[in-house]
């Protein structure tokens, strides 16, 4: 089986990928109070998947990942617009954000801002865009 890179690389990526991916989620979730945010998290997830592409090669990764990331972009856009229209439906102006205080058992009192959903939308779009371009360019050379 022709292996694009060495076994060592594969083992290490299998170790590193979850860390990078979780870190990107961390960036996304912590985005509101300390450095992070949808855009940066999106890029970080893209970097994580690029690592997979590089190390395991296009065919391997395609078996696992969806054929095209356009769905992600669409989801992101609907989320972003959804938050905007949502606040409109509830009577406030377009895109006004409300603050809810949830009591999640494990984490205690968590403050969730409606703008966060918008941020997740941005996150999906950025991931979708970057990965589509990279997978397209990548597939080009196969």
């Amino acid at each position: 089986m022709r292996r694009p890179t060495t076994i060592i690389a594969e083992v290490v990526t299998r170790f590193a990928f979850p860390i990078i991916f979780l870190f990107s989620l961390h960036l996304l979730l912590a985005g509101h109070n300390n450095p992070g945010g949808g855009f940066i998290a999106g890029l970080m997830t893209a970097v994580a998947l690029v690592l997979q592409y590089v190390v395991f090669g296009m065919r391997e990764v395609q078996r696992v990942t969806p054929s095209s990331y356009l769905g992600l972009v669409a989801l992101g856009l609907t989320l972003a617009l959804g938050t905007g229209l949502g606040s409109l439906v509830l009577g406030w102006g377009f895109l006004t954000s409300g603050i809810l205080h949830l009591q999640i058992p494990l984490f205690g009192e968590v403050e969730v801002v409606s703008a966060f959903v918008f941020d997740v939308g941005v996150y999906f779009i950025v991931v979708g865009v970057t990965l589509t371009v990279i997978s397209l360019l990548g597939r080009e050379t196969a």
């Binding site: 890179t5 060495t6 060592i8 690389a9 290490v12 170790f15 590193a16 860390i19």
Partner: protein
Amino acid sequence: MINLITGLLIGIGTFFIVVGSIGLIRFPDVLNRMHATTKTTTLGACSILLAATVKYGNSPIGLKSFLALWFLLITAPTGAHMIARAAYRVRVRLATDRMVADDLEGVAERFGYPPEQDQDQPI
């Protein structure tokens, strides 16, 4: 006490980083330089990370630096390994005159790698 350990670790870390970087400059060819730079990453940066972990303990900074410590410790050698492999396959000019033993003596010819190129080839 914590400060003493942190100070010590930072000292060690800085020492290795500086030495590694000097090595990067002075060594004749790629593989030697790589040997130096991996030291800066693993020993240098990681010991400073350890200092941070020690100093900040169970706070976000401490935990994150601990994670970074392990991440760096594992990924740095792999990176170096990949670079060395690639450099060898591309047959970058190595300082063969000072080479004591070449374990991969005939490998390059058998696998039909491109002939030895001088440094500034179009790659």
